[in-house]
């Protein structure tokens, strides 16, 4: 669909039907205003507060930062408070290699996990799209079902599997593949497994929906003309599934980069990820300003993929109309 037709289709709603009455226009406004105000207050404004606190100094008080703005003390104290804000916490982050390494390792871990999830998820989604139409809804439900069971529980289940005396090692030892238990728990490998496992439905679903829409006669035409199946896949199937690939990768990469539960339960103390650094900074060290600065920088790193994701959502919405 071209942009011109997309906009033409969206103009002038809701205008059909009888002219709107006064009462109706109030209802119309409320439909917009109620969720709008809620999200402004509970989603957007909190970010502004995080940014403000990231510029504040740590203090031994409750709340543990200065300055705190108190409107009742008048405009002067507000201005004085504003002058106290500075980028000290960000300099602190930049000067400490711990944070830098944590950011790098989070992005790398999330990227590797995303690629692994794509490699695991693509054949599943492809198989589902090729399945007989009668069993596709069942397969789809089976992919979604684990998502409905607790995330924490699914991560927890892997501890029993991966630990040195766990089920995987018991199995491999009894089969005789290995003679020494593998050390997987408390390494990056365990984090990869945890992320791929937990986020696999997010990868499979968009892939499936783009593969299912694909016209299979294109492949047949290519093969009739002598194109080998692998070439046909790379020249036709994969390019046509690209929107699904991008959506799936974003849905895995963005949350994985800030993941806390998986590195905490499966990664052990020697692995480094920024979600856990932020958590510790806040809960163990009680340093709210530094934790806020960590969050702001993480958000800046993720802003490009997030905007890309929103753009794709908006486009899909225009096309669905």
């Amino acid at each position: 669909m071209t942009d011109a037709t997309a906009t033409a289709g969206t103009v002038a709603t809701p205008s059909s039907g009888p002219p709107t009455s006064f009462l109706q226009s109030i209802v119309n406004r409320l439909v917009i205003i109620v969720p709008y105000v809620w999200l402004l207050f509970f989603f957007l404004i909190p970010f502004v507060i995080v940014f403000k606190i990231s510029l504040s100094d740590t203090a031994r008080a409750m709340p543990p930062y200065v300055p705190t703005f108190d409107i009742s003390k008048g405009f002067g104290s507000l201005l004085a408070g504003l002058r106290e804000l500075d980028f000290e916490n960000y300099l602190w982050l930049a000067g400490d290699p711990l944070y830098f390494n944590a950011y790098i390792s989070s992005v790398v871990v999330a990227a590797i996990s995303t690629v692994l999830a794509l490699l695991v998820g693509y054949p599943i989604a492809y198989g589902m799209a090729r399945a007989p139409a009668t069993i596709r809804p069942t397969l789809l439900m089976l992919v979604i079902l684990p998502f409905w069971t607790s995330f924490l529980i699914r991560v927890y289940a892997w501890i029993g599997i991966l630990k040195p005396e766990g089920l995987l090692n018991q199995f491999l030892l009894s089969v005789g593949v290995i003679s020494q238990p593998l050390v997987i728990l408390n390494t990056y490998a365990a984090i990869f497994i945890g992320i791929v496992y937990s986020y696999l439905p997010f990868m499979v679903l968009p892939l499936y929906s783009s593969l299912e829409k694909m016209d299979h006669s294109l492949i047949e035409a290519a093969q009739d003309l002598g194109c080998p199946p692998i070439t046909a896949f790379w020249k036709i199937t994969f390019p046509l599934s690209l929107p699904g690939v991008v959506a799936g990768c974003l849905l895995v990469f963005i949350p994985a980069a800030g993941e806390f539960v998986i590195p905490d339960l499966l990664g052990g103390s020697r692995t480094l990820m920024i979600g856990r650094t932020l958590w510790n900074e806040f809960n163990s060290n009680g340093d709210w300003p530094v934790a806020s600065a960590v969050a702001v920088v993480l958000l800046l790193i993720l802003i490009v993929p997030i905007v890309l994701f929103q753009h794709m959502q908006a486009k899909a919405q225009e096309q669905g109309r």
Binding site: T10, P14, G17, P18, L23, N28, V31, I32, V34, P35, Y36, W38, L39, L40, F42, F43, L44, I49, V50, G121, P123, I124, Y126, G127, P132, M141, L145, P146, W148, T149, S150, F151, L152, I153, Y156, A157, I159, G160, E165, Q170, Y197, P201, H216, Q223, L250, I254, P255, G258, F260, V261, L265, W279, F282, N283, S292, A295, L299, Q310, A314, Q317
Partner: protein, 272 residues
């Protein structure tokens, strides 16, 4: 060729589903383990379920979790449905771009960021952390998921039904309740269920926004898991999985019946 479901396809689906379900199956199996060692089979026993129900801390946490889940899912469903209507029906108003951004961003936002920002908001407005703040936080992140679910139904909704009703003189609000709402109701129901599941499942945002006296089940499980893996946790997890699985299966059966009914009704309507 079109109908051939190759061996490769079947193998990848079987392996994929084994990967998805094996950990959950093992978890359930070992909740019936006699032995205290979670990964060594010592015979069948239900004693961990018995000791679970005598664990007052876990029971209290379960009660908090269910209450927060019911309240937040219900409010989130109302707000999320309004947001979905806004996104699909009101295409031109000031700040629409910001609005759609605020609906979609929480879907992928790392939980530590959302949790921290909500906590700082509650501190800034001097709201004591506890049951109330926990519920507000859950409403906020789950309403966006409801919005997406309901929105996708609204996009495929045949507007001519509404137009017909309004041409016949039904006021828009009445049209909504008599025509639109019944049609999108399955989506609203699944939105509610999604919101409820997200709420009873959440750990990170809850840990930031909750306070004394409002410990949820995931928070409790998390703190026990950190101390060591016990079969009791397996038993608690199995009950949760059982509840959710039952709910999902019932919902999908009901949904399917409604869908069949709807198609039949539409057929009749078109013919008549």
């Amino acid at each position: 060729m079109n109908t051939v479901w190759s061996r490769f396809n079947i193998a990848s689906i079987v392996l994929g589903f084994a990967f998805l379900y094996l950990p959950i199956v093992l978890l359930v199996v070992f909740s019936f383990n006699e032995s205290k060692l979670v990964t060594v089979w010592g015979g069948f026993s239900t004693k961990w379920y018995v000791s679970l129900f005598h664990n007052q801390g876990l029971m209290d946490a379960a009660w908090v979790t269910i209450r927060v889940g019911l309240i937040s899912a219900t409010v989130a469903t109302v707000l999320g449905t309004l947001a979905a209507l806004t996104l699909t029906r009101y295409t031109r108003f000031k700040g629409r771009l910001l609005f759609s951004g605020m609906v979609f961003a929480p879907l992928v936002m790392p939980e530590v960021i959302t949790g921290l920002s909500l906590l700082l908001l509650f501190v800034a407005v001097n709201l004591d952390r506890g049951f109330f703040t926990l519920t507000l936080a859950h409403i906020t992140f789950s309403m966006c998921f409801v919005a997406v679910v309901v929105q996708s139904r609204l996009l495929t909704f045949d507007r001519s039904l509404e137009e017909a009703a309004m041409d016949l003189g039904a006021p828009p609000v009445k049209t909504f309740f008599q025509i639109t709402l019944p049609v999108i109701l399955p989506a609203i129901v699944s939105g509610w269920m999604l919101a409820f599941t997200l709420s009873i499942d959440d750990l990170v945002i809850s840990s930031f926004t909750s306070g004394p006296g409002a410990t949820t089940l995931p928070m409790k499980i998390y703190s026990q898991v950190r101390l060591g893996v016990t079969p009791e946790i397996n038993a608690a997890c199995t009950i949760l999985i059982g509840l959710v699985a039952t709910g999902v299966v019932i919902a999908s059966v009901v949904n399917k019946q409604r869908e069949v009914q709807r198609l039949r009704d539409e057929q009749i309507a078109l013919r008549g």
